[in-house]
Symmetry: C2
Subunit: 145 residues, 2 copies
DNA sequence: AATCTACATTATAATAATTCTAAACTGTTG
DNA sequence: CAACAGTTTAGAATTATTATAATGTAGATT
């Protein structure tokens, strides 16, 4: 769909210099049909699979945070040892599969809007996130220990 | 309220040896009117303030996880660099103050139950958590930069 | 096109949270 | 009270992330 030159233009619009590392990361992150979730580690793997040259880990962190600050990535809250990011930056909720550690988007229609009747005085709401933790439902399959 | 001997008895019931470290941690965590939130760091500080002897960091981690596994502590999801725990293990939601990094219980009546209309097939729901991120609402107070 | 400069990248070190390890210690059981 | 399994401990190891400081480069200026 979008070609490199588009990313170059887009980066410039955002006030980010279109370095080859950033353009590459745009391709990996945004040049696809569907949005997806990833950890920094996932992303490093994806990049190295699609590339002969390597992008430094520090650059991956820097660029992910730059894209996040510009609103093109969203960090997702999971109590875990690592951060998850989402290329879907719209307001939506998640299932988290505790078996596979996979993060899955909730369809907008699958969870009714959360009704917050009372907020904390003097504070404004920045975001409302629902995290539904799920696990395989194998009643038959007993664990050995 | 509950005295040491009660904690000793309680620990034994749970199949946890009532070592002096565990009893001490019970006092710090559960011997109070209100439930509260803490990080491991907070807890270590609380313990050292109330004690002449120290409890090893590894033991604090071990014991917190033991209590969590037994269902007397709950880990709370916040995208952050550290884990938050809650001595309130009932189903309830949270406000997270992004200014102060404070975690505040939602009153049960302040958020309507979350209605999940469609789950993932073959999976059972372990938990549903709402996290409402808030920030001070000072329209008047402009930021310099 | 050569030069300049602020912004970027990089390898590496540093930090922080957490887990692992293996030795020493201690409730509990017989 | 002896024995053993479960615990604690200090410190090392691991993992995720951020900081540092030298080098590289995009884009403006000459």
């Amino acid at each position: 769909m979008a070609k490199n030159c588009n990313f170059i233009e887009k980066l410039r619009e955002l006030g980010l210099r279109p370095t080859k590392q950033r353009v590459k990361m745009c391709e990996v992150l945004f040049n696809r049909e569907k949005t997806f979730h990833f950890t920094i580690n996932d992303l490093v793997k994806m990049i190295s699979e699609e590339m002969n040259e390597k992008i430094s880990l520090a650059t991956v962190y820097n660029t992910v945070h730059a894209f996040e600050k510009k609103g093109y990535l969203k960090e997702i809250s999971i109590n875990s040892d690592k951060s998850y990011f989402d290329t879907n930056t719209s307001v939506h909720h998640h299932f988290y599969d505790e078996d596979t550690h996979e993060l899955i988007d909730c369809d907008e229609n699958d969870i009714d809007p959360v009704n917050i009747k009372k907020n904390i005085t003097g504070k404004k709401i920045n975001s409302v996130e629902v995290l539904v933790k799920v696990e395989s439902d194998n009643q038959n399959q007993k664990k050995f220990n």
